[in-house]
């Protein structure tokens, strides 16, 4: 009866291919990234006001942008980190978009994904960025260190390099603890522990991993959502790691096409949206089992996965949805970009009653 409603609030067509959109923290503005047909990078800032979105700033750069994040920037500076098609990691001051405040040739090929932690009051410890690239390498950056990453995770010599499609920070609940999850085109999911600088866990979900996201970055690892090709997504319970079985998980079918993204609601970590290749949005709620861990016959603890319920679904576009971002400041407000070159501001109601 009291199902949340997903309502298209405003839509705005643009003249470039959209890859990413992110809310600017502590504002009613969001930033859209993409590439123009002529191969240049597009960066536009829009503001939501009175049932409309207005473009307030734009910049065209020589290289196409693929992804961006505010995750490693302080709330006051709100500097935007981007990864581009040539493998460059740049950080922009939104007041002066002429030159980046930080620039490093991070990868040899396109940076597919970027995530940040330690900024915006989210996550303990140093502000850090993580980038994943087609060259198979995942690099962790500290904006205070020029040119060189602070950690690099790459396949060993002789191993085939897989295209890294997604990276995510998590477990940043103390200054030392921090994890990076990386998903690859062959279905590999790897969890790197940055404290011990080691591979903590890996698994294969058979289909290319499009998106990984922890429900929260700044708490002890709780849940990890992994979306894949072939219309499947997985949710791992990350609290209990079994020495051999790893983490317990559930698998759900959705969208009847590639599940491009999963985004957890900032105001409620058990609610998340998945976005499909057919332009649909599904809103899910995760329910924990009665006991999150059980002891097996040997007395070793292993996790127990919960279940997910579909709360609402809506199809907004005929093209895949390339990005989705919940507003961190306003419950239920989100922005979404699709490959039909349209930015959509979406309102989800009744989220507070869940």
């Amino acid at each position: 009866m009291d199902k949340p409603q997903i309502i298209l609030h405003v839509q705005k067509p643009v003249n470039y291919t959209l890859f990413d959109a992110k809310w600017i923290p502590c504002s009613a503005k969001f930033i859209a990234l993409g590439n123009y047909a002529r191969g240049t990078g597009a960066l536009q800032i829009f503001e939501v006001s009175h049932g409309d979105v207005k473009m307030v700033k734009e910049a065209e750069k020589s290289k196409s942008f693929k992804c961006g994040t505010f995750g490693a920037s302080s709330l006051q500076n709100r500097q935007f980190a981007t990864g581009d098609f040539t493998g460059k990691l740049q950080i922009w001051d939104l007041e002066t978009l002429d030159l980046p405040v930080y620039s490093a040739q991070g990868h040899k090929e396109i940076i597919n994904c970027i995530d940040g932690v330690g900024g915006l009051g989210i996550g303990e410890g140093a502000p850090e960025l993580v980038t994943g690239s087609r060259d198979g390498i995942v690099k962790v950056w500290d904006p205070r260190q020029k040119n060189d990453p602070v950690a690099t995770m790459e396949p060993g010599e002789g191993e085939t390099k897989r295209d890294c499609w997604t990276v995510a920070f998590g477990d940043a609940y103390t200054a030392q603890d921090r994890c990076v999850a990386a998903g690859y085109d062959n279905g590999d999911i790897k969890l790197f522990d940055l404290r011990s600088m080691s591979l903590r866990w890996e698994t294969n979900v058979k289909n290319g991993v499009c998106c990984l996201e922890f429900d929260r970055k700044d708490i002890k690892m709780n849940k990890l959502a992994a979306t894949t090709l072939e219309s499947k997504f997985h949710v791992y319970d990350m609290r209990t790691q079994h020495p051999t079985k790893g983490f317990a998980s559930l698998t759900e079918k959705a969208h009847k096409s590639t599940v491009w993204l999963a985004r957890h609601l900032p105001q409620n970590r058990d609610v998340f949206m998945t976005l499909g290749g057919n332009g649909s949005l599904h809103l899910w709620k995760y329910s924990y089992p009665s006991a999150r861990s059980k002891k097996d016959s040997d007395g070793v603890e292993s996790g127990v996965a919960g279940s997910v319920d579909l709360l609402q679904n809506v199809t907004l576009s005929t093209q895949p949805v390339s990005s989705f971002d919940w507003s961190p400041d306003k419950l239920g407000l989100s922005v979404c970009t699709a490959f039909d070159q349209t930015i959509r501001v979406i309102i989800t109601t009744k989220l507070n009653t869940l």
């Binding site: 009866m1 409603q5 309502i7 609030h9 502590c26 504002s27 009613a28 939501v48 006001s49 009175h50 049932g51 302080s74 709330l75 006051q76 410890g125 140093a126 502000p127 850090e128 962790v140 500290d142 205070r144 260190q145 602070v150 950690a151 200054a175 940055l194 600088m197 400041d329 306003k330 239920g332 407000l333 309102i347 109601t349 009744k350």
Partner: protein, 569 residues
């Protein structure tokens, strides 16, 4: 009144829609409020007061580790750890396999990588890190050294020294690489700095001794060996070397100039510094630098990518000419002189300009007093032999073009490291020059007058170098008593070998007093120096000549013996 289930459902639906609508309206109203609210908040955010910058944790993997607490030192001795060899246990050191030890250290480092970084302060950790990097560079250098890649070894050691300037092994190892490259002066410097860092480092002394012996400073070398023996009285190498040097020194007493290196050794020419006031006012002349005593005729190195296009073009042309020269040359033309296997194209146009210059050769001698290895040659001559059109220009504006040419020539010379390639260059110049072919042919019948000055001889020698027969005729005309005056400073190995060869080859046809020739040659200034650099081949020629003297000419065995000694046989 009761309602049917269908009606109830409809009512519910209506109710829900209404509810949803109102919910959305509320939300939208809230959204408007929120946008203005957040705008205020954002404005506040921009004002500097709100920005509090808490203490951020350090950057990962650089400083983070520095904060680690020092662990309790484990005093328990690792049973696998070999005992340290005492500095005075020389027998044990003799058995000590340095390479194996290095590898062991490397392995241990790998094993204990994680535990090796517990240091109390940032500085300590940073220093440890740099030291570690230096070690890595050293290992790299050692590998290169083993593989014989001395340039890369030197590079690696240099990097290592940048990381850790207190490591005495790095400069010593670099010195070894430099010695292998026969860069003795630099090697000596490195050894000295290594010794400064570690005055008890025996290897540094040994290497410095080698380097010093290399530059002919036998006394200094010996003192180094003495130092080694003070530190390690049982050092075999030092003993053997010391003995050898002592022998050499005693020989040197008889012959003033002596060096442990007589073969394949390049002469070291040091720059002479003069204050501007004392410098020669004579305009700069092009100077040909020839390496003496080097028998190698190698192909010119390919021009590197860093060179300008023009230079590369020139290099390519040279290469082509060089190839054609090798393929076209009939083997019968081979001259007896090794260093100039390629026949120099006759270029008589050079003649006139040479004469012009030969009026004032003394200028050259003032400026180039102290090198036998430098063959002075007028730039005009070189220019004309290199390219016909250059000679015109240089005759009219000699001084103005001198500098420019000198620079261009020095550029091209980068590719022409040896005489052979230089010759090929002049060959390549000919086709596009306006030189008539007839002139070139006339060179064969060339008959040059007896030279009056050393400079004239030099020029003539250039022309005759590859025509042993004509050269012999030319040389025979010179009175032996004139030699010291004529050759002046310039009797280099090239000329000497040419003379010896031609005398040896042709003395049968036209008799000549070989003893007189050889004897008078020894009076030429710096002869001993030149003789020192003679190759085995040349020495054999001399032996033949001496044999000839003792066979055919009426000379006492004493005279022949003294001659033998002077030629250092």
């Amino acid at each position: 009144m009761s309602i049917s289930p269908h009606e109830e459902k409809m009512l519910n639906l209506q109710h829900q829609m209404r509810q949803n609508q109102s919910e959305l309206q509320d939300y939208l109203a809230g959204l408007d409020d929120w946008t203005s609210e957040i705008k205020e908040k954002e404005k506040k955010l921009k004002s500097p007061e709100t920005g509090k910058t808490g203490d951020l944790p350090p950057v990962r993997n650089t400083i983070e580790k520095k904060k680690m607490k020092k662990k309790k030192k484990e005093k328990t001795v690792d049973p696998n750890k070999p005992k340290r060899i005492s500095g005075y246990d020389f027998r044990a050191w003799d058995k000590f396999d340095v390479d194996k030890a290095l590898e062991d250290v490397e392995e241990n480092n790998k094993k204990t990588e994680t535990s090796s970084s517990e240091y109390e302060t940032d500085e300590e950790w940073e220093m440890e890190r740099k030291k570690h990097l230096a070690e890595l560079e050293k290992d790299k250098g050692n590998k290169f050294l083993k593989a014989g890649d001395y340039d890369k070894a030197v590079e690696a050691y240099t990097k290592g020294m940048e990381f850790d300037s207190t490591n005495s092994i790095l400069p010593a190892n670099r010195a070894l690489a430099l010695i292998k490259q026969q860069k003795f002066a630099a090697a000596e410097l490195d050894c000295t700095s290594s010794i400064v860092l570690d005055p008890l480092y025996v290897k540094a002394y040994l290497r410095r001794a080698t380097a010093r012996a290399g530059v002919g400073r036998t006394q200094d070398a010996m003192s180094d060996y003495h130092c080694v023996l003070d530190l390690e009285p049982a050092n075999k190498q030092a003993k053997a070397e010391l003995e050898r040097l002592e022998k050499e020194l005693s020989r040197e007493k008889e012959e003033p100039v002596q060096s442990s290196f007589t073969e394949g050794q390049r002469g070291v020419v040091k720059p002479v510094y003069k204050p501007p006031a004392e410098r020669s006012k004579v305009p700069m002349k092009r100077i040909e630098i020839e390496e003496i005593g080097v028998e190698v005729v190698s192909r010119p190195q390919r021009s590197s990518a860093g060179q300008s296009e023009a230079v590369q073009k020139v290099a390519a042309k040279e290469e082509q000419a060089f190839d054609s020269l090798f393929t076209a040359k009939p083997p019968s033309d081979q001259s007896p002189i090794e260093t100039s296997e390629i026949i120099k194209p006759p270029s008589t146009t050079c003649d006139s300009s040479v004469r012009n210059i030969s009026n004032g050769p003394s200028n050259h001698h003032q400026t180039q007093e102290n090198t036998t290895s430098i063959t002075v040659l007028s730039q005009n001559c070189e220019a004309s032999s290199q390219n016909g059109r250059h000679s015109e220009e240089s005759n009219t504006s000699k001084t103005s073009s001198a500098n420019r040419k000198a620079t261009t020539d020095s550029k091209t010379k980068n590719q022409s490291g040896n005489p052979a390639t230089r010759d090929s260059k002049s060959q390549s110049g000919n086709p596009d020059s306006s030189l008539p072919v007839a002139t070139a042919g006339a060179g064969d019948g060339l008959h040059l007058p007896v030279p009056q000055s050393s400079f004239q001889f030099q020029a003539d020698f250039k022309l005759l170098k590859n025509k042993p027969k004509q050269f012999f005729q030319y040389f025979r005309a010179i009175s032996p008593s004139q030699y010291p005056k004529l050759f002046g400073q310039c009797l280099d190995a090239d000329i000497l070998t040419a003379i010896l060869n031609s005398v040896n080859m042709h003395q049968a046809e036209s008799p000549v007093d070989v003893f007189e020739v050889l004897h008078n040659l020894t009076f030429v200034k710096r002869f001993t120096m030149t003789a020192m650099f003679l190759s085995n081949k040349d020495k054999k020629v001399i032996k033949d000549l001496l044999q000839h003297i003792s066979d055919k000419e009426q000379r006492t065995s004493q005279e022949v013996d003294s001659l033998r000694q002077k030629y250092q046989l």
